[in-house]
Amino acid sequence: MKKIAMSLTVLFILSISLAVFVGCDNSGNEEKTIILATTTSTYDSGLLDYILPAFTEETGIDVQVISVGTGAAIQLGRDGEADVVLVHDRVQEDAFVADGFAETRYDVMYNDFVVVGPSDGEINHNINVGNTFTSIFDNELTFISRGDNSGTHSRELLLWNNLSLNPADNPNYLEAGQGMGATIGMTAEMEGYTLSDRATWLSYASKGDLIIVCENDPTLLNPYGVMVVSSTLRPNNSKQFVDWLRGSKAQSLIAEFGVEEFGEPLFFPDA
């Protein structure tokens, strides 16, 4: 009886002290850290894991990455929860700057979007995304949309819009509401089509029978921009990070990332 009381007391004290300990630990680190809100493509592809250790080693600043869709990442910036935002949707980025949430938007790198689909599907490899989207629509082929307000999702909607098509009129148009990788996985399982950034496509491990059916169309270019959030509590760290990202060291790391593993770069630096 006493024993249980004792062990409960010990448990309680332990939990309190652990909480206090962890609390101290975090506040001590706060000086040397930033929160980077970014898109799933930069993180899930492994790019940030590849380049960030060099930055931390150089400056001692720990970059805490939260990878969500572009829309969600920008919202984190608007709420002041993130210090730096690295995303790929020019329209949302410009609005972010125009609304005063950041002073400037900087180019960092670009890659391109590709349309992927089943290798034995109705669409053969081509370089015209307009035709590709039109035949998906006309033939009512299965198309998996991100549906999550991400950069890729905005681009996809823009492409439909340019063709004056309403994708929802295709009964086989589905919205996944998930990250790029998960969406590719669904597309493979459902033998459908989807729009993906090249980086996630190349690094995604379970492609199934999917191949690229459309690429190298000029309208598929995919630039990434970085912005320091104006309301950041860590302006110096944040500025240091953005300067580093645009500097020669990071730019060459970006250029070499993935070459060994995938035979081609996943991102092209352009700061």
Binding site: M1, F12, S15, L18, G23, S27, E30, D49, V65, E81
Partner: protein, 210 residues
């Protein structure tokens, strides 16, 4: 092991809050008690994503507890977990004590026990149910993804636990690694149960000897 730290800490906190609350809920008589019980029952089934969102809003920089700077930290995850699990533990303890507590109390008072002693006796007599409540809470804490993804942000080395890693691996298409990690998680759960069961049996045996 961030996963174990988070799980154990939030289960412990929930027990510390939930067990007395459950006993109190049974003992206390007050108007509107049925409504409190109803709320408790509802919270037991609260979707983690909703709890995650609420905790997110509270911890946001502009939120009521924003000054703590807890969003996207270990503390935020423990807080969300504790809010999720406490009602479960409280509810189970309440149900258990409803069945037998009044008898035990009556017995203790007959034996001339003080109020504190009565409480301890109660906890001891209900130890099976309390153990069960803790196990359920622990399981919930360990398997949680939705809430801690929102409030923790799945930041590597800081707020990434095994379940959110599995979600990330799935996003990367590394299904094999994901399932491997899932198996590890199951084994940890098994080990914890074995240790818990062992401790409990030993406790019972020493009690019999007394």
């Amino acid at each position: 092991m961030l996963t174990l730290q988070m799980t154990l800490l939030s289960t412990a906190m929930s027990c510390v809050i939930g067990i007395p609350l459950g006993l109190l809920l049974d003992k206390a008589r007050f108007p509107g008690k049925r409504i409190v019980v109803l709320i408790n029952r509802t919270l037991m089934a609260a979707p983690p994503v909703v709890i995650g969102l609420v905790v997110y809003l509270i911890l946001m920089r502009n939120g009521p507890l924003g000054f703590l700077g807890w969003l996207f930290t270990f503390e935020a995850m423990v807080l969300a977990q504790t809010i999720l699990i406490t009602p479960i533990i409280c509810g189970i303890v309440y149900t258990a004590s409803q069945r037998s507590a009044s008898n035990i109390r009556a017995f203790a008072i007959t034996m001339g026990a003080s109020r504190l002693q009565t409480q301890f006796l109660l906890i001891k007599e209900l130890s099976n149910e309390i153990y069960f409540a803790a196990i359920v809470g622990f399981g919930r804490a360990m398997s949680e993804v939705g809430a801690i993804m929102i409030v923790g942000g799945n930041i590597r080395y800081h707020t990434r636990v095994m379940t959110t890693t599995i979600a990330l691996l799935r996003n990367r298409g590394e299904i094999n690694q994901a399932i491997f990690l899932g198996a590890v998680l199951m084994i940890i759960a098994l080990i914890i149960q074995v240790i818990g069961g062992f401790l409990k049996r030993r406790e019972e045996r020493t009690d019999e000897n007394i």
